[in-house]
Symmetry: C2
Subunit: 189 residues, 2 copies
């Protein structure tokens, strides 16, 4: 994944010791060819497990989730974010804080899209404290579906998200790991 | 686009004479192979014009925009929605009502992603009153970029959106046109 590291070094912006913006790579502008390469890599890493659906969360996860689902030949489901808790019996919802947005959001997935016989690969663009990923994992658990693993484009290993998920015994595959942003400098692991 | 009509007949839900939900086709769950077919169709219809970027709006437009951008070999940019107006000199914003959501949202695109020498293809999943599309068109105009046309998966021709945009002299290509939802029945044009 050296090309992704290169792209991050060239095009990202370090906003603080904890925050890096990937706007021109993953968040607001995407290069579809590059995203397809990342999707192919996720498909390869999880090629030996049965997967029936890819789950991601709007909006930054959708391109990456789409590319992975296209490579795997399975549907993509994406969770929605809402600022208010909808009480809908047809919908799984989890309230999670957002590290980058500094607000609480509710994540919603219609029940019909997650079935007990599903094998779910969770895909997201970046993991920091892991609140979104853990919320999605709770939703998958509640649906009775099987979580086969988590694929993350950029893991920030100096924050606890990916580690706490691995400690739950869940497989997490990160394409690139950022060990530190200290002093505005990106250090990869 | 008969397969898209079939899919709509099989999997959509008519909620009223004006509202159809495409949750399992375009909005919350997508079939990447089918979306790629739609993207190829847009790329074909606009093959004779120069396009440097595809612009869409989160979240439902992203899969379709991604597929189209992948086929065209250009970057995808997606506008964000916010409930509060961010006053950021680096960002184009337009306030628009949302027909389906019943609320007003602000659409935002970073200025750096739309340049005067860009040729933009606008892609969205569905057009009803066209508020989102017109908001994006105003953003493109303000950026000085050239709008080559608008590609829409599902046009609801009994609402004024697509017509008013065509009346501005802008090319609108819809893959499927729904003429009426009267009595819970989907009638295509």
């Amino acid at each position: 994944m050296d090309f992704l590291k290169q792209k991050i070094l060239q095009e990202s912006e370090v906003l603080s010791d904890h925050v890096i913006t990937l706007d021109s790579i993953l968040n607001q502008q995407v290069d579809p060819q590059m995203i397809m390469e990342l999707g192919r890599e996720f498909a390869k890493r999880f090629s030996e497990v049965k997967i029936t659906k890819v789950l991601t969360i709007e909006s930054s996860g959708i391109s990456l989730g789409f590319a992975t689902a296209l490579e795997l030949g399975v549907p993509l489901v994406f969770a929605r974010r809402r600022k208010t808790l909808v009480s809908d019996p047809e919908t799984y919802s989890e309230r999670v804080p957002s590290f980058t947005k500094g607000i609480v959001t509710d994540m919603l997935v219609s029940r019909k899209f997650l079935q007990p016989d599903d094998h779910i690969l969770l895909i997201d663009d970046i993991i920091a404290n892991g609140d979104a990923a853990r919320g999605l994992i709770r939703i998958i658990e509640r649906s009775g579906a099987n979580l086969v693993g988590v694929g993350i484009a950029v893991e920030k290993s100096f924050q606890a998200g990916a580690r706490t998920i691995r400690e739950q015994g869940i497989r997490v595959e990160s394409l690139v790991t950022v060990a530190s942003l200290q002093g505005g400098k990106i250090r990869f692991e």
